[in-house]
């Protein structure tokens, strides 16, 4: 599953293909020419020191950030950021994003809606799905993330871990082609991290295509098909999880991973 060098794609198996993607804020360039290919069902984990541009790159994929240069293909839709005409706007942009699920560090649930309404919000508001149909989907997903008994709770009545699981269900309710996870466990108390990672592992097992930005090296080791190491806005090394995490070649990867060795070294359960 990790033959990342193959660029021919007759079966339409490439879900995301970024090439030479750049993002700058004024004179600061946060992403400096990142290329990445993600295939259907693949779990790609992005690691690297804080501020290396991995979150910005992730936000470029669903155009929460507008890249300054490069090309991006999600599904069959390709965008060349050199020409402003190919950048989607308005409803077109909304449709582009609707196919991509995203989960954030701070959960960002809608506080005026119950857990159930949060999960229904995408299908009802974006897809104009009938309430009953959306509710059935939402109940099933909340059950799947272990919150079947919490459907009527408001976000403020839930723990951080529970809120993040609702946020995952909310993103999944749109039946996205790919899921983006942006440091989704970083804001959680340590004892709540496990329940969120378990849900993500389950999604990976179900064949969900995922790009995960995380500092959880044990998760990367156990779940990732492909690990990408970023530093200073660039990809410094990428490859199969075992290879990158256990035998890194690039000195910057080695120095970054040295902080995590106790976690990575643990044997798989």
């Amino acid at each position: 599953m990790t033959n990342s060098s193959t660029y021919s794609d007759p079966a339409g198996d490439v879900m995301v293909r970024a090439s030479g993607l750049r993002k700058s804020y004024g004179t600061v360039e946060a992403v400096r020419g990142v290329s990445l290919e993600v295939k259907r069902g693949q779990v790609v984990v992005l690691i690297g020191p804080s501020g290396c541009g991995k979150s910005t790159f992730l936000r470029c994929i669903n155009l929460l950030e507008t890249p300054s240069a490069g090309t991006l293909q999600v599904g069959r839709r390709a965008i060349d950021f050199a020409s402003s005409r190919s950048m989607p706007h308005g409803r077109d942009l909304a449709r582009f994003r609707a196919r991509i699920g995203m989960v954030f560090q701070q959960f960002d649930l809608f506080p005026h809606m119950t857990a159930l309404r949060n999960v229904m919000s995408g299908p009802v508001i974006v897809k104009k799905m009938p309430q009953r149909q959306a509710e059935a989907i939402a109940r099933e997903l909340l059950g799947k993330v272990g919150l079947g008994a919490f459907t009527e709770r408001y976000p403020r009545e839930l723990s951080g871990g529970q809120q993040q699981r609702v946020a995952i269900a909310r993103a999944m309710a749109m039946a996205p082609e790919i899921m983006l996870f942006d440091e989704v466990t970083s804001a959680l108390d340590p004892e709540l991290v496990g329940e969120v990672l378990d849900v993500m592992k389950q999604l990976a097992t179900d064949g969900t295509t995922m790009i995960v930005v995380t500092h959880e090296m044990a998760f990367a080791r156990d779940v990732a098909d492909h690990v990408v190491v970023m530093d200073a806005g660039q990809v410094v090394e990428q490859g199969p999880a075992e290879e990158i995490l256990l035998q890194p070649k690039n000195p910057r990867t080695v120095s970054f991973l040295s902080r995590f060795h106790s976690t990575i070294g643990e044997r798989r359960a």
């Binding site: 669903n62 929460l64 308005g90 409803r91 909304a94 449709r95 582009f96 994003r97 609707a98 196919r99 991509i100 699920g101 995203m102 954030f104 701070q106 959960f107 960002d108 649930l109 809608f110 506080p111 005026h112 919000s121 995408g122 508001i125 974006v126 946020a167 909310r170 993103a171 749109m174």
Partner: protein, 219 residues
């Protein structure tokens, strides 16, 4: 010699008082509603972030916030008809000033309510695929309106008090009625005490209501 209070003289003008009260309430309601419409429109336009849209609104708001309302009313009454070279009836000229004043504050309240909503709410809604209209209607406004209501009610209370300034351009509101009755009866003590009492009777319950609203939003 002790002053002999005689509120009978005040009561004798009941009809006039009722008319004055009607004018005060009418102006309050009218200018608050007009100001609300202006506030929502300008507040929405401010979200476009195009300089040629936001800059005029910004100056409109600041001009009305940074000049005394009394000056505005007098200016609208005496100067505006000359500037526009049209005859404006007194009630309209004065009302226009009050409405634009309320509009300026409402714009700020509306804008403040919208930008008080966490950035994460916008990005979460966008990530789900909502258009700007959808995320405004379903995610941002339901939360923002709750926060806008208390300051808007407070501003409306101030606005009701401000209508007393209409007195200077001879609009027959409560305050002006007071001056008419004083001229007739030479009883300023009773008359202006009554005027104050009427304002208080209307505004005190409203401030209690506003305080309750605020407490509810803080929950």
């Amino acid at each position: 010699m002790a002053y002999k209070w005689d509120f009978g003289a005040v009561y004798a003008y009941l009809n006039l008082w009722l008319k004055g009260l009607g004018v005060t309430l009418g102006y309050s309601l009218g200018t608050v509603l007009g100001g609300l419409v202006i506030g929502v429109a300008c507040g929405m336009l401010l979200l476009y972030r195009r300089r040629w849209v936001t800059l005029p609104i910004h100056y409109y708001v600041e001009i009305f916030r940074c000049t005394p309302l009394l000056v505005q009313i007098v200016w609208f009454y005496y100067a505006l008809p000359i500037v526009l070279s049209v005859e404006l009836p007194a009630w309209l000229a004065a009302g226009l000033g009050l409405t634009l004043y309320m509009g300026a504050f409402s714009t700020e309240i509306f804008r403040g309510g919208i930008i008080s909503i966490d950035k994460g709410q916008w990005q979460a809604a966008r990530a789900l695929g909502m258009t700007n209209a959808e995320l405004m209607r379903h995610i941002i406004l339901p939360q923002a309106i709750k926060r806008m209501v208390p300051p808007f009610v407070n501003q409306s209370i101030i606005q009701l008090k401000n209508t007393s300034l209409l007195y200077v351009v001879a609009v027959p509101d409560l305050m002006y009625t007071g001056s008419v009755v004083v001229a007739d009866t030479f009883r300023p003590l009773e008359v202006y005490t009554s005027v104050a009492a009427i304002y208080f009777a209307i505004l005190y319950p409203l401030t209690l209501y506003a305080a309750r609203l605020e407490a509810r939003v803080d929950q």
